[in-house]
Symmetry: none
Subunit: 418 residues, 2 copies
């Protein structure tokens, strides 16, 4: 059985400049590999303190995973400290060096001497390539302990672990019991309400376990099953999922790391529909998130950010009398914005967001007032009104999610009506 400890190296963590999201990510990943995690440690960029942290970890874990301290500068000393501690040399890895040189060539930047340091690796280690940065990761097996060295920036560490680390570690795991996890995502229902609906199912289960978690206006249920046979574990998850969704299936929208926007994009592609947006409240957030998904161009040609009344009137042709009589934050304005955007941008669906993100009220309407207009070709335009209670940022995020949710509901209904 592998018991792991995660050691994050970096004084910036001890000063509270950044939060240790790496420990969370790795803990989730290790659980899914069937590897126990009993401790997280954070230590500064200091050779002696790092050394004692390693010694303590060696007494209580047989796998030690380090994040951070692999960079080019003098205070990056993770691999130097481990090398000295376990009596291994640091040697230049030609592949890593070439990849660093290529990185500089490709980005037209001048490589400095200390960047070469990043290509130094522990002798005898299994290299984990860094596809999103320079410092490679390493796995070293000393016989008694497995040392895993990963870079600190999450944008490098996470893809490295998923692409190369998972496989390297699962080959080390001799335990026959597999931990299989599945996340069910819900929108439009609160955590307490969801839990109340299924509390008897949660209480009667120990394998799989069911763990609710709320965040970003969504609720997720993490189902975790243990079994030597992964296929059996999956079937156990299927059964629990079915029982849960008999109760709250109307709010379920997807699995694991999907998002409402990803589901919307998938749904539009299947139906060969295009979408556009007129964003006031959300200032481009809907379009930005939509286009963050590769391949969005097949459903999205473009849209308008109409932050001022001038742009609503001159570019999106909202009638001046609507703005005068009802204001920009109104059902009438949301309707015109959605319909006119669809027409001007020649799209099947137009969505509009207008409202008061905060911190100040607008047109005498309170912070959190939101109108979302949805114009789908061949159907009457719908405008949904909501009052949200979060910060400026949360209200904008929530609005985009509600927008996606309303369109998905609308498309489902129109399918059911056929």
């Amino acid at each position: 059985m592998i018991n792991a400890e995660i050691i994050a190296v970096g004084s910036e963590l001890l000063l509270g400049q950044i939060v240790n999201t790496n420990a969370r990510f790795l803990s989730q990943q290790l659980a899914s590999l069937g590897i126990n995690v009993f401790f997280h440690t954070v230590v500064g960029d200091n050779h002696d303190r790092l050394k004692t942290a390693i010694e303590i970890a060696e007494n209580r874990a047989n796998m030690i995973i380090f994040t951070g301290g692999l960079g080019p500068t003098k205070d990056d000393l993770t691999k130097e400290t481990i090398a000295r501690h376990i009596g291994k040399e640091l040697i230049m890895d030609q592949t890593a060096l070439e990849s660093i040189e290529l990185y500089f060539k490709r980005t037209n930047r001048v490589m400095t001497e200390n960047n070469r340091k990043q290509a130094l690796v522990l002798e005898g280690s299994h290299i984990l390539p860094n596809d999103h940065g320079m410092a490679p990761g390493m796995v070293v097996d000393s016989g008694s302990h497995i040392y895993v060295l990963l870079p600190g920036p999450p944008k490098e560490m996470e893809p490295m672990f998923l692409q190369y680390g998972c496989q390297a570690l699962s080959s080390k795991n001799k335990s026959k019991e597999k931990i299989v996890s599945r996340v069910l995502r819900f929108f439009g229902i609160g955590e307490a309400a969801l839990e109340t609906e299924i509390i008897d199912i949660i209480d009667s289960q120990s394998n799989p376990t069911i763990a609710p978690l709320a965040g970003d206006g969504e609720v997720t249920l993490r189902l975790t099953a243990k079994h030597v046979d992964e296929a059996v574990a999956q079937t156990m998850l299927d059964e629990v999922e079915k029982t849960i969704n008999q109760r709250v299936g109307e709010f379920f929208y997807g699995y694991d790391n999907t998002s409402l926007l990803a589901e919307l994009t998938k749904s539009l592609k299947e139906r060969k529909l295009t979408i556009t947006a007129a964003e006031s409240l959300t200032g481009g957030l809907f379009q930005q998130e939509l286009t963050s998904i590769a391949g969005a161009s097949s459903v999205f040609k473009g849209g308008i950010v109409c932050y001022s009344n001038e742009v609503k009137q001159h570019i999106l042709q909202v009638k001046p009398e609507i703005l005068e009589k009802h204001g920009a934050v109104s059902e009438q304005c949301a309707k015109e914005l959605a319909e006119n955007a669809a027409r001007l941008l020649e799209s099947d669906i137009g969505i509009s967001f207008t409202g008061v993100a905060g911190p100040d009220e607008v047109e005498g309407k309170p912070v959190g007032t939101v109108y979302i207009g949805i114009a789908i070709k061949g159907r009457p335009t719908v405008v949904e009104k909501m009052i949200l209670a979060g910060t400026r940022e949360a209200n904008r995020n929530r609005s985009v999610k509600f927008g996606c949710y309303f369109i998905l509901q609308n498309l489902k209904e129109s399918q059911n009506a056929k």
Copy 2:
């Protein structure tokens, strides 16, 4: 001198269900109180493992701050473990008990027997009232060590610490030395290149210390000074900052938690200039980030997301021959997009983003090719070409940052030219 260790107790942290934001919050607070933090530890809801974690912490710290494990359920065992370890009794605190009873009355919920457990406190401890929940906090001084017990939920812990904890701990801090920190932010230079420029300054300094950190395409330097007089510490930081910026000041853009977009917004407000954007590559990211800053409406009226050639041509009036001859990812197209957006949206500045975000190449141009057009009223339009080497998401983020950086440089130059 107080050296603190922060121990978070909770299996949910080791399973990666939540991230340890408490450690970050407390680290920041302790630094401002002049208390060093050398280690963070996370341990599960397990008596034996918590006990060894306490023993290890006692060997390397004289203040141990615990978060979590003060709740009503059976797996909440922080105060029980500490009581046994340091030989103190748990006694019922009447004030805490009354406050818990009141809490249930106020929220119309039924109080269960295990909730009484939350009013048990370590004998002889200084109580920190919980204004946002039930479990009170505690400070216990054993002579050799100070033990601080805080609840796990950040919404309870943070206000408790600010309201009551800060004062209780600063009275324990006999050291009069204050730690003052300042972050300098740089863009357009890599971490290794920056360090090479100032390595002699870093090496010759021990107070203030200078710590470089890279992330999201930016580099920061954290300067930390210690002195009994905070004003003197600030002056020490001023002097080091001046020396550093004599070398690399051209890349410096702001302090602490600012961002390039926040600096751009500030600069536009000062100059009473408005801006608009035509975003292809970035799909609305620039506008979304701009409008995430409250008060953006004084510099931004709106803009266009022109993801397809149709929108570039029909809405932004890019000449068909430019798209045919040079393509959408070209200097010529970036120029027209920026200029036409500024004209159509009646803004002083138009910025455009066109390029290949990935994963596939476009028009035979490789992933990472980016053109940013900047049209400032009364000045010739500038188009910057770059080759970026990140993921789709990183390339889009980096492009927005470069866009802000180029405009800021341009505005500075035009000011210097006067």
